[in-house]
């Protein structure tokens, strides 16, 4: 600053249409009139300049009215002129946010919370909202495809007496009707690598393995398991799980697009762990709804708990190593049994 109220900004002047340029000074008078030195050429008023937003300490090129440019690293002087002649600094608030470490750490905390909230609450809510809109043809088609693929690779034809399977189908149909569901059917299969198991596909297709039926549970226990599977269908758990998987992958990809070098492993680990967490919530929901359906049918709501205990007893006999709790697909069986017992009381 030299004369009262006037400013000098040091930089480099580029004439319009050429890369030629030279060191120069932009003189800004107290009323905003511009003069380029050396040469003394008048360049109009400050308000005629195109001033890019401030960004860190990077120099800026001011766009002159004649198509030329004036590059300067004197950001403070430029901002002072902006404030004086335009009344505001474009992007000044953003620059103030970006300039402070306190804000940066707060933003980091906010970001962590937003990601957590989005993954734990946002995505499940979105999936639950979207699931009913999927066309029935897609749901049925993908379910039949899944069963066909399982039949090719894991499952084998059932060796149960046909009457046993038909009786189970009748039970499933009654429970499904009780839940207000139409369609769906029951398939009996020899489980192979699946062992004693029962699962539902989104279209309402329930598969129960011979090994499960042969564990020796009574009809109520099997009905309890079917009620649990029907509840999965009613709440569209399968669809929501699949949608959540896609949304999680999409979200993680958007967030870590930047992180490509760190490899997909790191990007996908939280997705896998979060996915496991979702399935626990769904299991608890299906346990509760299954017990309610059993009660409505006039059957013992505790039957599922007995079936779970039987399943666990059988598994313990095989002496498989216990999975770490945080990595298990199903919530601890004892915990589920206790919950069901509490609900039935």
């Amino acid at each position: 600053m030299s004369e009262a109220g006037s400013l000098r900004i040091a930089g480099c002047h580029y004439p319009a249409g050429s890369a030629a340029g030279q060191a120069a000074e932009l003189h800004v008078s107290a009323d905003g009139a511009l003069r380029l030195e050396p040469g003394g050429r008048a360049l109009g008023h400050w308000r005629g300049l195109r001033v890019p937003e401030r960004l860190g300490r990077a120099p800026r090129v001011l766009g002159l009215g004649d198509g030329g440019g004036f590059e300067t690293g004197d950001n403070a002087a430029v901002d002072a002129c902006e404030r004086r002649f335009r009344g505001r600094v474009a992007g000044g608030r953003l620059h103030a946010l970006e300039g402070r470490w306190t804000i940066a750490w707060l933003a980091l905390a906010g970001l962590g919370f937003s990601i957590f909230a989005g993954f734990v609450w946002g995505i499940p809510a979105l999936a639950a909202r979207v699931a009913p809109w999927l066309p029935a043809s897609v749901v049925v088609g993908s379910s039949e495809e899944t069963l066909a693929s399982l039949d090719r690779h894991v499952l084998r034809p059932s060796r149960l007496p046909a009457a046993r399977c038909e009786a189970l189908e009748a039970t499933r149909a009654r429970l499904a009707a009780r839940a207000g569901l139409s369609g769906g059917r029951l398939e009996c299969r020899r489980g192979g690598a699946f062992g004693a198991n029962a699962f539902a596909l989104p279209s309402g297709l329930v598969v129960i393995t011979d090994e499960f039926v042969e564990l020796g549970g009574d009809d109520d226990e099997l009905a309890g398991v079917l009620a649990h599977e029907v509840a999965h269908v009613e709440y569209r758990h399968g669809l929501r799980q699949a949608l959540q998987g896609s949304l999680l992958t999409l979200g993680a990809a958007l967030l870590t697009g930047d992180l490509a070098n760190a490899g997909s492993f790191i990007a996908h680990l939280p997705v896998v762990l979060a996915g496991l967490h979702y399935s626990r919530d769904f299991e608890r929901e299906a346990d509760a709804r299954g017990a309610a359906l059993m009660r409505a049918e006039g059957r013992d709501p505790r039957a599922l708990a007995r079936a779970l205990a039987r399943l666990e007893g059988a598994a313990r006999q095989k002496e498989r190593p216990a999975a770490p709790a945080w990595l298990s697909d199903h919530p601890d069986t004892q915990e589920r049994i206790a919950r069901i017992e509490a609900l039935a009381r």
Partner: protein, 412 residues
């Protein structure tokens, strides 16, 4: 109040700069960046006779590109913009992109002048929105009507070169140095040959022609760039591209083999059968993760080697305008160590060190790039005139969005 000197460009008389370019005397090669040996400076002689009246000692002279960004400063910009992007469900990403680019361009300087990135965030957002809708329709039709979707996918192939050209035109047009814009003048036909035909032949030939495809692509990307009226041109030799592709493939092959054997051995010891993810104990999980990490590490080594070696081949001797030139001097071993350090830094900090890594990388590649002026830089600059592109050749943000979405590497 003046900004700290590290980001303030030296605005000395430009003519004077040309005699003592930045930190290098004109008759001495630039100091190697951190330990790497630099190739000799004996580039080809200037194509034009030396203009009369200018000091001979100054011709030819080299200047190193400089980078003044700082990791901490960029971290603050990055985290604020990332938070705003998440809070606006991705809408702000267009502004975040422009700010990030502007920061990196603005901190890159050559001969005291920095680069400018002039894209409009709203235009970028429009491009991204159009692309997102198109991709959504494509995925929806793929999952509901697979045959029709597949037909659409094949039908979309001819648009890929168009998007590439469009992205290049757009990105060069909004890049400026010394108030003069870059341009990209490649045609659709050239892009179709480089990005569809050659890769197709590369696949059909079981990879034998893949390095040729890479060479064709790099050549197309480089030979249509203009700075104002000064054209970039370079003959990219084919056999060195084959050489570095073979070395990178062998490296990758060794790493894959080692990781596979390692994982097989460890899983066998851990007694793990497939299809029992839920039954993993900690030791088995470790057995599963360790080979993956080993593979990731090896992949980084191979990719770093390939990137550095290819860059040196592609940018070995780029001619710009009347006898000026550009050259890359990355030391391959040095860069492998650098990239490995970056990976470890990123992994250990769960990605939080990413801004520092990006700044380090930008500085690394800037300082290993030199520009050679055939005449003193002031005279050279006076010879460069801005050229305004015709309306039909200005590119679009749709192409730019596609480049971002599919991670096309179209940079030099």
């Amino acid at each position: 109040m003046l900004p700290p000197a590290s980001c303030r460009a030296p605005y000395d008389d430009f003519e004077g700069l040309s005699l003592v370019p930045l930190d290098n005397a004109p008759d001495r090669p630039p100091a190697p960046p951190a330990g790497g040996a630099l190739p000799p400076l004996s580039g080809p002689p200037p194509r034009q006779p030396h203009p009369p009246g200018l000091p001979v000692a100054a011709v030819p002279l080299r200047m190193r590109v400089q980078f003044h960004g700082e990791g901490g400063e960029f971290f603050r910009i990055w985290i604020v913009n990332l938070l705003l992007t998440v809070l606006t469900l991705g809408i702000y990403s267009a502004w975040a992109k422009v700010r990030t680019r502007r920061y990196f361009y603005g901190c890159t300087s050559l001969a005291g002048s920095t680069f400018e990135y002039l894209a409009e965030p709203v235009a970028i957002l429009k491009g991204r929105a159009v692309l997102a809708v198109a991709l959504l329709l494509l995925y929806a039709s793929l999952s509901m009507m697979p045959l029709f979707g597949a037909a659409l996918l094949v039908g979309a192939l001819p648009f890929v070169p168009a998007l590439i050209v469009s992205s290049l035109r757009f990105n060069y047009r909004v890049t400026r140095w010394r108030n003069v814009a870059f341009r990209f003048t490649g045609s659709y036909g050239g892009a179709a040959v480089a990005f569809l035909l050659w890769p197709l032949l590369g696949v059909v030939s079981f990879g034998l022609l893949w390095p040729k495809a890479i060479q064709a692509q790099r050549s197309y990307l480089l030979n249509h760039v203009h700075y104002g009226n000064a054209a970039f041109s370079a003959d990219i030799p084919l056999w060195p591209v084959y050489g570095c592709s073979i070395v990178a493939s062998v490296l990758l092959g060794i790493v894959t083999a080692v990781a596979t054997v390692l994982s097989g051995l460890m899983l066998a010891r851990a007694g793990l059968r497939p299809q029992s993810m839920a039954d993993l104990d900690h030791w088995q999980l470790f057995a599963l993760v360790l080979p993956t990490l080993a593979y990731l590490f090896g992949l980084t080594l191979s990719a770093a080697y390939y990137r550095a070696a290819l860059r040196n081949i592609v940018l070995a001797d780029v001619a710009i305008g009347d006898g000026h030139g550009l050259r890359s001097h990355v030391s391959v071993l040095d860069y492998i160590a650098f990239a490995t350090g970056n990976l470890l830094l990123t992994v250990v900090t769960l990605g939080l060190a990413r801004p520092w890594v990006r700044v380090r990388t930008a500085r690394y590649f800037a300082t290993t790039t030199t520009i050679r002026f055939a005449v003193p830089a002031g005279a050279a600059m006076a010879g460069i005139a801005a050229v305004t592109e015709a309306a039909g050749r200005r590119g679009s943000t749709l192409g730019d969005a596609a480049g971002d979405a599919f991670d096309w590497d179209l940079s030099l």
